[in-house]
């Protein structure tokens, strides 16, 4: 059997008329869903993992953007004669978080 003949066979099969659903198919699906609901397995709400999975690309981009912003500010602030972000953070931690007397 060569490729051309196989192609012809596929082409002929492609023309097969598609079967239509019988009348009342949608109603039967709905009945099955009601039975499903009665059995207690209704539509599942997305689990925390599903939601995290959906949010992951956005969270990742937001984190990258935040890091880039912090790095940019750190480079720009000394040039503009503003207190450096690292100095500011060090000052805050000295004053509030890690004082000799503790909190």
């Amino acid at each position: 059997m060569n490729e051309r003949k196989l192609k012809k066979l596929f082409e002929a099969a492609w023309h097969e008329p598609l079967p239509a659903p019988s009348a009342g198919f949608a109603a039967r699906v709905l009945q099955a869903i009601r039975r499903d609901q009665a059995a207690g397995s209704g539509p599942k709400t997305a689990s925390i993992f599903d939601q995290l999975n959906l949010l992951f690309p956005r969270l990742a981009w937001a984190a990258v953007a935040l890091i880039a912003l912090c790095v940019a500010v750190n480079f720009v602030s000394p040039a503009a004669d503003l207190p450096s972000l690292t100095d500011g953070v060090a000052q805050v931690s000295d004053q509030w978080l890690f004082t000799a007397d503790g909190l």
Partner: protein
């Protein structure tokens, strides 16, 4: 389809009956996919029903980023492959008696000069495709009979493009071999008839 989003919103807020609207909109598409793998109408309806019930159960996971019909097609394809795997594979010899005379005549000719009706082509493919694995059958059907691209098949099946190409190639080789065997059997049968 934007209307789908509205219907889905109503379903999510508790209007279960609205799901029938979605079934009516997309049933033709689901039947079109599944009918390539099951020819018995009752079993086909069961598979279509299974597809919609699975879609209903997973509605919470549908994020609306892709159109509803694409998401539903993926579920239908998964139902189809599960069906092919479940179906007891009858690994008996390829059965010539199952084929009509026109299909056998077409098989005998070298270049397939005679025209083959769609239903006979499907019968012939059905018999030859018994030699394929469910995944190979799925890929070659989606590619050659439904006319989908590798990218589309990859999205529907969750396989990589390379895997789709490899399966399609393997399926083609196996199909050519199976059809060649059928032709050989038919030629032997014809010769035996002439000898009598």
């Amino acid at each position: 389809m934007n209307d789908d989003a509205e219907v889905l919103e109503r379903i999510r807020s508790g209007a279960t009956d609205e799901f029938a609207e979605l079934v009516q909109r997309h049933q033709a598409q689901v039947f079109a996919i599944l009918s390539r793998y099951e020819h018995d109408h009752h079993r086909l309806e069961d598979l279509a029903q299974e597809t919609f019930v699975k879609a209903w159960r997973s509605l919470g996971r549908f994020d609306g980023r892709a159109p509803f019909q694409h998401w539903l097609s993926k579920i239908a394809v998964r139902v189809a492959i599960d069906h092919l795997r479940r179906r007891k594979r009858s690994r008996n010899e390829i059965g010539l008696p199952e084929l009509g005379e026109d299909a056998l005549e077409w098989l005998r000719t070298d270049e397939g000069q005679s025209e083959l009706e769609a239903n006979q082509a499907c019968e012939l493919l059905e018999v030859a495709m018994r030699e394929l694995s469910p995944a190979e059958r799925l890929v070659i059907t989606l590619q050659e009979i439904e006319g989908r691209s590798v990218k589309e098949i990859s999205a529907l099946t969750g396989s990589s493009g390379v895997a789709v190409r490899v399966r399609a190639l393997r399926a083609r080789t196996k199909l050519r071999k199976a059809l060649g065997q059928l032709k050989q059997q038919e030629n032997e049968r014809t010769k035996a008839k002439e000898t009598f």
